[in-house]
């Protein structure tokens, strides 16, 4: 009876992931300049918008949106532009996996939200990495 409905848990997981990505863009953006910095700014704005959309959907469902953590552990220090691009590639790849799992759990419009989140994360990852992967978000099909 106290368990939240499945959609709420999935939306909270996506929100937690978007919080982390917003944090990462803040860290990485400071190390970028020129076109990359502008792209990072657009990414930051897009993820904040998605985060706010998720929070609103949770409130609609009478759930309290999960707040961001006070800080996050980065996989490695971000000291220059190259580190920043690597971090953003990794974050978008991990976010793609979160959204891919959300597709599995959601129906109707919410599934559409998840496919959109997966698509946007895959596009951003491809642009940061300057290359494609065949199955974004599907860890079990990741190439060796």
């Amino acid at each position: 009876m106290t368990r939240p409905p499945p959609a709420v848990a999935v939306l909270q997981a996506a929100l937690a992931a978007e919080h982390a990505v917003v944090f990462g863009y803040g860290v990485a953006g400071a190390r970028l300049s020129g076109d990359a910095r502008r792209r990072a700014q657009r990414g930051y704005d897009a993820h904040r918008a998605r985060r706010d959309e998720l929070a609103a959907l949770l409130v609609e469902r009478a759930a309290e949106p999960e707040p961001p953590a006070a800080s996050y552990a980065l996989p490695r220090p971000v000291e220059d532009a190259r580190d920043a691009v690597e971090l953003l590639t990794l974050l978008e790849e991990r976010l793609a996996a979160v959204w891919a799992d959300a597709v599995l759990e959601l129906r109707g419009d919410l599934r559409g939200l998840a496919t959109g989140g997966l698509r946007d994360a895959a596009v951003a990852a491809a642009l940061w990495r300057r290359g494609s992967v065949p199955f974004p978000g599907l860890a079990e099909r990741a190439q060796q």
């Binding site: 937690a16 992931a17 990462g24 974050l91 991990r94 642009l127 992967v133 860890a139």
Partner: protein, 176 residues
Amino acid sequence: MTRRGSRPPGRREVLAAGAAGAAGGALALAGGLAGCLPGADRSPPHPPDPELRRRDRVAAEVSALAAHYDAVVARFPRAAAELSTLAAEHLAHADALRGPRTARPSASASPPSAPPDPAPVPDTLPAAVADLAAAERTASRRRNRQSAEASPELARLLASIAACEAAHAALLDTRR
């Protein structure tokens, strides 16, 4: 007090939350991701027939997209290295959709339809690449619509393919 403690076990994390007060606020180094999903193959063992037909139909569309790349590469061989890697990903999509051949008793009864003749290739490489990008975008939107109607497992695969197609379009745009 840390956010991690309140999360369900096994939940995927993009970044691990830092421990409060860690090393004067410095970001701790940690691999934050539960990287692998349990189970290598998430396809159901015996998908219902309509699902098989749906997979075949999408696989034919995906193969047609690969054929579009082949036509452009035939016309502009200098673009082969770059475009062939993208075309190969579409072939991987078709393989994933069709699955192992041995598990397909109805394969001979309903062979996948032959892809339609690709549209004529424009006279310049930039125009041909623009056509490819447009075809990828159309395919991506279509794949997302197909995802809406599919079973959860197939929906996840279709959404990933749609994401790949959208990423191809974005990468093609950057080379123009």
